[in-house]
Amino acid sequence: MTKKQKKILIRIIISAALLLFLHFVPSTGNRILDLAIFMVPYLIVGWDIVLNAFKKIFKGRLFDEEFLMMIATVGAFIVGEYPEATAVMLFYQVGELFQGIAVGRSRKSISDMMDICPDTAVVIRNGEEETVDPFEVEQGETLLIRPGEKVPIDGVITEGATSLNMSALTGESLPVEKNTGDSIYSGSINLTDVIKVETTAAYEDSTVSKILELVENSTDKKAKTEKFITKFSRIYTPCVVVLAVLIILICSLFTDMGVKESIYRGLIFLVVSCPCALVVSVPLSFFGGIGAASRKGILIKGSNFMETLSNVDTMVFDKTGTITKGNFAVDAIHPREVSADELIDIAALAESRSNHPVAESIVEAHGKHIAKDRLGEVSEIAGKGIRAVIDGKTYYVGNGKFMEEVGADYHECHLPGTVVHVSTGNLYLGHIVINDEIKADSAEAMEKIRQAGVKKTIMLTGDNSKVAEIVAKTVGVDSFIAGLLPDKKVSELEKILGNGRVVAFVGDGINDAPVLTRADIGIAMGALGSDAAIEAADIVLMNDSLGLIPSALKIARKTLRIVKENIVFSLAVKIGILILGALGLVGMRVAIFGDVGVLVLAILNSLRAMRVPR
């Protein structure tokens, strides 16, 4: 509790004790004396509200809660309900205090959780250790990081080897071994040995600063539900005030209940005129949900994205690097006319300038020195393959379509995988089969994604349909679209979009930024250290396991459920009080108790969003 909150708490306790005492003391029988007595607990707890209310009258802010609270309580004094007037002010302050404490707590618990960035860094300058603010460390300086310390800035280990706990970044608690030459990320904790690290970024461009910024600013992007609450709260207070005036007029003019009772009923309306419960609990729930997600290594860039994620019914996955590991390796070499060595030699030479994973796997399988001076003109034909001149002879290395085009008598392989055919002119020389491993947890994650309520899963891939079918069957996606050129992925996604579907696209963020942007929700995985992915995606998974997606779905659905519960519950109670109050069935004390009660319950409910569901 802050000092200010403690002061208010003391005022509340004194005032409540006095009020309770007065409850057991008989009235003096003198109205003026009674009023003076009740003024004591009233002013102890509410003097600042009354003072602020007066200030606001002069500024013309007549729909402010403090002003309305003052009118309600002063009105109650005028109609002679002294204890009620005092109780209303007392409960109003209790509600405000509780709201302040709860929000402060949750803000603190989230910032503690995000306390992954150290306040100091030890930097080696002119051979001496200096302890400085991480802000002052420049790119290229050398840091000394001892066991137990947090890595303040991204860098590369120049001396030593250690294991790091990266759970604050990835949600994965198993330590990771890092050796000299490896990159490490700020926010990791050094566990075992002293290391020296050369920084590769300034503090503000480091991973940890970016994550903090994302999470802090995430509540600025408001969800539709939040916007609705904002609009609603703008009209709610004026409407209730107008209704209060109407009730007073109608009751006193058209019924025989008398002016005093009519005013009393109208005042009940003012007591519930603050939309506080909604205005506080809805953003608080989103903030809690985003905090819970970031603790698991899931960064949600806005409340709006969390809302959309909770409605996702179709998920589209990229294959390579998302469902599979993306580590291509040559499975088989089937030569014709030439030897296996000669075939791989030709293919490796032709592909040696490409950085495509398939090309790299061929070069790796070749394993020997590549004599680039044997290579003449090389041209890449998009979606088909490569035409290369080697030792003065033209070779074609690529897919079946390419072979057809050059008229080579090729045949598809009986093995599944990506097949690279080789020919010279129309003479077919054989093919190489390349495969990619499926991630160990993809199948399990796919099942959990379905359990979390996603109705349809689709896989997109540039590979041939034979490979796609096997991967799809193994991990259990509903359908797949194979043989897609990179630029066709967007148009395929566009066909899936619309029709009332809410579509998420999951990719590794490397080649699929346009698709990530186009989907209703773009989810990039394995994004640690990849700025492009963090930029393009709406939701960023810090490690490359599909297993985080079911967790993200659960957190989003839970958060939205809490938001809806709070909206329905708060409105139901408020409207209930308004109706019962108008009919004279509840008094002011019940009304304010109900109103503050709703506020407290809604806030407590929204705090549940901070807990990570299992």
Partner: protein
Amino acid sequence: MKRSFKLEDLDCAHCAQKMEDAIAKIDGVKKVNVNFIAQKMILEAEDDRFEAVLAEAIKKIADVEPDCKVLV
């Protein structure tokens, strides 16, 4: 220019909404976001009028919640 300010003792959520509405009406403000949860204000305004806009915004904040201070 876009700057972020910490708000101290911003105690009620509906007040944050009112501040935001009031500041948005100031001449020269491009975008303003008063975030109750993060206790901060992000103010985007025309460069040459920024100081004037900020002074006006601080006044509006004090109108809504006299206890709330803007840390500049």
